[in-house]
Every structure is written in C-alpha cells, then in structure tokens.
C-alpha cells in the first residue's frame, strides 16, 4: 500500500505539479496581462499629465476585466477574402508559442513547469520565436495590404534582431556554462555577482533586441498605428485580436524573464550571498505594506461605498502579501529553531517576489521608452540591427571570451572577474561608438544622392 502511495506521489511530483503550474499560468496569465496593460496605461497617463482609466473600479482597477468582457462579447469578424483556416489558426499559434515559452522559465527555485530541461534557455528562445509564424500567417491570411506589410516587417525584424539577442545571450551563457535555467541562476549565486554586471554591453544589446523582438516601441513597426493602421492585426477583432494582444504581452514577460534569469540574477535577492546585507529581506514586505497603507489612505476619498470596500479589499490583500513575505524573515528571528524549516519557504516566496520585481522593472523600462521615443523607420531599424547591434554583439562575445580566458588564467572569480570583463566592456563600448560614427559618416555621404524629379 505504501508503495502505491509512494508511486502516486512520485507520479504526482513528476507530472501533476508541472501540470498544475501550467494550468495556473494559462489561467492567471490573461489576468496578469490585463493588469500589465492597466499599469501601462496608468504609467502612460502619469507621463502624459492625465489620469488614465478611472471609471471602472477605484482608480480603474477593474478596467482589465471590463476590457476582457468587452473583447469577448464583440462580434467576431472574418473578412470575406481571408483564408479562414489560417486566419483562425494564426492567433492561436502566436499565443500558444508564447505560453509554451513560459513553461521553460523558473519563477522561483521550485516554480517551473518544464523542470530540468538541459537546454532551458534555448528552448525558451526557440519556442518564443515560433510566435512569429502566428504573426506572418495572420498577416497573410487576412488578405489585406496593411496586414501583409506588418507581417513582413515583423518577420524581417525578428530575423535581424534574433541574431543580436542570441549573441548577447551567448555572453551570459559563457559565464554560466550551462543552458539549464535553474543552473544559470545557481551559477550567479555561486559567483556572487550577476552576469549583467559582468557583461553590461550584452545586457544592453539584449535589451534593445528584445524590445525589437516583442515589437514594442520604438520598434513597433509591425503594428505601427500611424502607418499600417494596426499592422498584422488590422483585420482581427474581438477575441482573436485579444489573443494577439495576449501573445504580445506574454512575449514581453518571456523576454523580461530571460533577461532576468541570465543577467539579473533570476530569483536571487541583490547581494544574496552577503550576510550583512540581509536587511534587504525586509524590503519586499515593507514595499507591499506601504502600498497597502496607500490604498487605505485613498479609501475615504473614493466616491462610492462599493469602491471604498474594494479599495479596502485591495489594502487587505497587500497586507496579506506583506505578512506572507514577512513571515520567512521574521520567524527565524523570533524562533531560531524554526530557521531551517522556514528556509525553503523563504527561497520560494522571496525568490518569486524578486523575480517578479525584476521582470516588472524590465517591463517598466519598455513602457518608459514607449512613451518617450518616436518610432524608427523601417530602414533605420534594419540599419541599427545589422550595422550596429549585430557587429557589436559579436565583438562583445569575442571580448568577453578573451576576458574569461584571462580570468581563468589569473584565477579570477566573483567580483574580481570584473577586473577582466570591465576592460572588455569598455572596449566594446568604444567600438560601438566607433561603429556609430562610421555609420553616420556613411549616411552623410549617401544623403545628397536623392535624384531630382519633375512635378508629378
């Protein structure tokens, strides 16, 4: 009997836990994406001297749900000339690829669906790149010029920037020595330094390339509203459109997670191995508690009773999260005997917090750029990719490789590895500036060649 239980446990552990995680992601992700959109709109409003959504729920907190309901009950339009099957399939493909990529990510040491894939990062990058099929097919199937051009731009963009992103990832992988997601984070713990600090140029290249890959401003040419109406999504509406939307935001989360894992120490706390900085552990509960207090303060200002209650509930939720986050920190202080028992909880809960925090910061950066910068033109985008990012990332890989050899030779590791990588990064930076200057000179020479033409 015991063996049966044992076997069941084994089975559960192997298959059901990931399945539950997966279901959780599929079920919760749309909601998360909805709230990411809300946060984006709020940030945008803040940067643009206005309030943003304020009507549905207090401070627009229920807006994502209203939006989701609206999208679901919208009429489902398929253009007459569209290829029906592909039109149906394309958004599913896009969102499927994005969700599948989530499977390879480790949000905490234990929270990972596809555990122990030895090609973890490669799997994530490869699968998320599959999403482009959804975009290309969708653009083609809608049988509209705008859609087709959006799709073409998107694929060209992905091809150009995937190279640079891949090269940037190689830099991080050189340090990690493994593709396994969990091991990469462990490697950063062992080194005591995040790879982003060791290879800042690679982090920068990946940042730029990942913005381009997820079609976000200033590289949002495939859906450039002012040029292509909505790019590949022009003919999509309602639920299908929201699937594309979901895919786009999921992709954002995926690239942010990859960057977090590889360059920003994954679920590790900043300076996780430095004992005297352990007080940083108080930051997560304090942050959530402060948010809770803010909600509490705003409660009396809400116009309607329902909204006040809702605000109270949000505050309560924040306090609950704060309590959960605080418990693994406070329990060992109160009762040192329980320290060992609490340890895994600490790793899971705080790891999750830090991971999400870093991903949020990364995505915030995306949004910040979006509201600040104009959009690139297609040829400029391509030139930036091929003339600047790809050479830079390749040179950077070379330099980092050399730095690593130097590091091995002099037995440098941890923070001391910076001695070798910092000169490499500076050199890469100089080369980057050089490439830029060269590119601009070439541009200046080409400019006056515009042929005069007669009046049309």
């Amino acid at each position: 009997m015991q063996e049966v239980t044992q076997a069941t446990m084994e089975f559960m552990k192997q298959y059901w836990a990931p399945l539950v995680c997966g279901l959780a992601i599929v079920a919760v992700l749309p909601l998360i994406v909805g709230y990411v959109v809300l946060v984006e709109r709020k940030i945008m409003a803040d940067m643009q001297a206005r309030l943003g959504p304020m009507r549905v729920g207090p401070h627009g907190l229920l807006q994502p749900i209203a939006d989701a309901v609206k999208l679901l009950i919208k009429e489902d339009i398929i253009p007459d000339d569209a290829d029906k099957l592909v039109f149906w399939l394309a958004p599913v493909l896009s969102v499927g690829a994005a969700l599948l990529a989530m499977a390879g990510l480790a949000i905490g040491p234990a929270f990972q669906i596809a555990q122990d894939i030895n090609v973890g990062i490669l799997f994530v990058v490869g699968v998320s790149a599959m999403g482009i099929f959804g975009i290309v097919l969708g653009g083609w199937a809608s049988n509209s010029h705008y859609s087709l051009m959006g799709a073409l731009r998107s694929s060209a963009q992905l091809v150009s920037y995937e190279t640079a992103a891949g090269m940037a990832l190689v830099c991080g992988l050189l340090f990690a020595g493994t593709l396994n997601v969990t091991s990469i984070v462990e490697a950063q713990r062992n080194q005591g330094i995040w790879f982003g600090l060791l290879a800042p140029v690679a982090l920068f290249t990946y940042l730029v390339a990942s913005i381009a890959e997820t079609n976000r401003a200033p590289f949002d040419l495939p859906e450039a509203e002012s040029e292509l109406v909505a790019g590949y999504m022009t003919e999509f509406s309602g639920f299908r459109w929201s699937l594309y939307f979901l895919a786009e935001y999921t992709n954002m989360i995926v690239v942010a997670s990859v960057a977090t894992t590889l360059f920003l120490g994954g679920w590790l706390r900043p300076f996780s191995e430095t004992r005297w900085l352990n007080f940083i552990d108080f930051f997560p509960p304090l942050l959530t508690a402060v948010i809770g207090v803010y909600c509490l303060m705003r409660t009396p200002k809400q116009p309607a009773r329902v909204q006040q209650l809702f605000m109270l509930a949000v505050a309560g939720l924040c306090f609950a999260v704060a309590a959960v986050l605080a418990s693994p920190v406070l329990v060992p202080i109160a009762k040192p005997s329980l320290a060992a028992a609490v340890r895994p909880f600490y790793a899971g809960i705080h790891g999750g917090f830090w991971f999400i925090f870093k991903v949020s910061a990364y995505i915030y950066f995306f949004m910040w750029l979006r509201f600040t910068l104009p959009r690139y033109r297609f040829d400029q985008l391509m030139r930036l990719g091929w003339h600047f990012l790809i050479p830079l990332s390749i040179i950077n890989v070379l330099l980092i490789g050399i730095a690593m050899i130097v590091g091995v030779y002099y037995h440098l590791n941890g923070w001391r590895l910076l001695l070798a990588t910092l000169p490499a990064s500076i050199m890469a930076l100089i080369i980057a500036l050089f490439i830029l200057a060269l590119d601009q000179k070439g541009e200046a020479q080409k400019a006056p060649s515009r042929a005069p033409d007669s009046y049309a």
Binding site: Q48, A49, A217, V229, Q380, A456
Partner: protein, 380 residues
C-alpha cells in the same frame, strides 16, 4: 478613375526585384491621414514610386453656400473650413469684406483681432505638433500640446463663448467687447507657455530618432515650393522669407516686432523648427499686443444691411497653414456674387506627390503631418 492607375506615374515602373508594384490605398479612413484624405500609393516593397491624393470627401460646397447667403450670414461658415484655426479664417473673411466695403475696423478691434489670431496660430501649431509627433510615433507630446491648447480655447470661450468654431469677429470690427480678464489671461498663458515649448523641444529636437525620421525627409526646394504654390511654414522652411504679416500687414501686425523664422533645406525637420519658432514669435506678438490695447469703439460704422458697391477684392492673410485668400465679388446686392476661398491646405497638399516620391511608407505619414493640412479646408 480606373482603380489601379495613378495619374502621372506612367504605366509600369522598374521595381527593385522586378516584382509587381503594390497599390496601397491609404485612407479615407486611416489613423494618420488627418481626416478624410485618401492617398493612393504605388509601392515597390516599402518604397513609394508614385502617389495620388484623392480629395473631396469633406466637400460641402462652401463657395456655393456663400452665393446664397448675405455677407454676415456667410461669416460663420468660414470657421468650418480650417476648423482648428477658425479665428484666422474669420479674420480673413471679415477683412476681405471690409475691404470690399471700403471700411476699416477701429484700432481697438484690430489689436484684439491680432491677439486672438496669434493665439489661434499657437493653438493650430500645437495641434499640428501633437499629431505630427504622434504620426512619427511619439505619443506623449500630443497630450502636452492639448494641455496648452486647452488654455487657449478657454480664452476663446471666455471671449466669445465658443471654443472651436468661434465666429469671433464681425464684419467691421468685433461683436463683443474684450472680457475684463483678457489681458491677464493672455499674459498668464504666455508666461506659462515659454517653458512648455522647451519641454516639447527637449522631447524631440535633439532626439536621434526624431532627427532620423525628419531630417532629409520630404525635401522641398525653394524653387519647387514657389512653383507648387506652397505658402506659410512650408514655404518658409524652404528658405523663402515671406510672411504676409510682414509683406502686406493687415490687422495690427505693423505695430509689432517679430521675426520670420526660415529654414534652409526645406525638409521635415526644418518645417518642424520653423513652426516651433513661429509659436514663440506669436507668443511675443501677444505679449506686445496686450501691453497696449487702445481704447475706443470696436465696430466701424457699417450698416445693418451690407451692400458693398459693385466690384471685387482679393485679400489674403497669413493663416497658420499658409496664405488664406478670399476673393470676393460684389454685385451691389446683399449677397456676395462670388466668394472664392484660396485654401492654404489645398495648395500645400499639392506638393505632397512631389515630396513623397522615393520615400518609404513611414515617411508618407511624416510628410502628410508636416504639411499640416486640415481636410475641412482642403475640401471646403
């Protein structure tokens, strides 16, 4: 018109890969054609090898309406042409009819007209800046611009009760005396506006992407600009220093000091810079004007029924978009025999085909934006 031909581009052109050209129909419902402009583009990949503007979707027959209204009755109609610069339209019409009547608005009216018209110029340029930046992908300036424009519209509202299509002036002067706080309101706006322009410039002027998107895009040489009849900031950006406010002063412009900014290359960036500087100059004009608004009547002696002596007159003003001309013919009756409106947007739009050739699709929207057209005025 046959659906797949574009006038003036010949039958078949050599494309990069020898593939068929793509005919892309932009508009009349498109996010960045600023209304109901329809542009047919002939594309080689993303490169434009031919284009044709199809207009008229907003044609309301304003000139025909004029022939069936009295002089005063027609005045509100002109506000509906360039509806983002209604005050300027009204000024042009009122002055043209005044010229036909051979009366002149009293000094006080002229100064107040100048103030409101210059505020309108700023408002129009702000709207242009916001939408132009939005077309090029910068989302945020739009909201900043609308914030300032709102202040101007509030001044209009205080003055005459309307915000957009104001009908602020009357033939012979002004209907309303300036409200008590006009000077203060204008001054407050002007004070606040200076740092705000700097904000926009911080966002755009030195921005590498903005430079890349506007420098060298849609170049219009001075000779071409004149030949194509372009006026206003479009002409000045090409280096022709011609502003009707200076060349043939109307209203009270001869009393104020201001500069005419000109560009050098005539590209989109120059037009941007010219309009930015024009906003500053307009602000200066407003500040000068509010310092000394002469006292006196606000209406000249014109009868209740206007019967201009037979004859004709062409009067043009420097509207925010360019030369806005009114050619009014009187036959001695209460209704104009003919009112011809020379719309700056319509004529400026004509240079679109010339400017866009050889550029990419993304530049098309930049060029439409930089021409600063209002379809209400193009189609009338």
């Amino acid at each position: 018109m046959a659906s797949n031909t574009i006038a003036g581009t010949g039958e078949k052109q050599q494309t990069l890969l020898g593939a068929d050209e793509l005919i892309l129909n932009m508009g009349p419902q498109h996010p960045s054609t600023h209304g109901v402009l329809r542009v047919k583009l002939k594309l080689d990949g993303e490169r434009v090898i031919g284009s044709e503007c199809l207009i008229g979707y907003l044609h309301r027959g304003v000139e025909k309406i004029a022939e069936n209204r009295t002089y005063q009755q027609f005045a509100p109609y002109v506000d509906r042409m360039d509806y983002v610069a209604a005050v300027s339209n009204g000024l042009g019409y009122c002055e043209a009819v005044e010229k036909l009547l051979m009366v002149e608005a009293p000094p006080r009216a002229r100064v107040i007209r100048t103030i409101l018209t210059e505020l309108q110029r700023i408002a129009s340029h702000l709207l242009w800046l916001g939408t132009h930046a939005l077309d090029i992908g910068a989302l945020t300036p739009l909201f900043y611009c609308f914030r300032e424009r709102e202040e101007i519209l509030k001044i209009f509202e205080k003055y005459c009760g309307a915000r957009l299509t104001t009908h602020a002036f009357r033939i012979g002067g002004l209907q309303y005396e300036a409200h008590d706080t006009l000077e203060k309101d204008v001054e407050r706006f002007c004070k606040a506006f200076e740092p705000r322009i700097k904000d926009y410039e911080d966002l755009l002027t030195q921005n590498r992407i903005w430079l890349g998107r506007t420098k060298g895009v849609g170049i219009l040489q001075a000779a071409d600009a004149i030949a194509l009849g372009a006026t206003g900031p479009v002409l000045r950006a090409s280096g022709v220093k011609w502003d009707i406010r200076k060349a043939m002063p109307y209203a009270a412009y001869d009393q104020y000091k201001f500069e005419i900014p000109v560009g050098a290359t005539g590209d989109t960036y120059d037009r941007y810079m010219v309009r930015m500087e024009e906003m500053r100059q307009s602000r200066l004009i407003c500040l000068q004007a509010i310092e000394n608004i002469p006292a006196g009547p606000i209406m000249a002696k014109v009868g209740k029924v206007l019967k201009p002596p037979p004859g004709e007159v062409y009067h043009s003003i420097e509207a925010p978009k360019g030369e806005l001309g009114y050619y009014v013919i009187s036959d001695g009756t209460v209704q104009p025999y003919r009112v011809r409106i020379r719309p700056p947007s319509f004529v400026n739009l004509q240079s679109f085909d010339h400017m866009v050739k050889g550029h990419l699709v993304a530049d098309v929207v930049a060029i439409i934006g930089t021409l600063d057209i209002v379809l209400g005025e193009v189609d009338r």
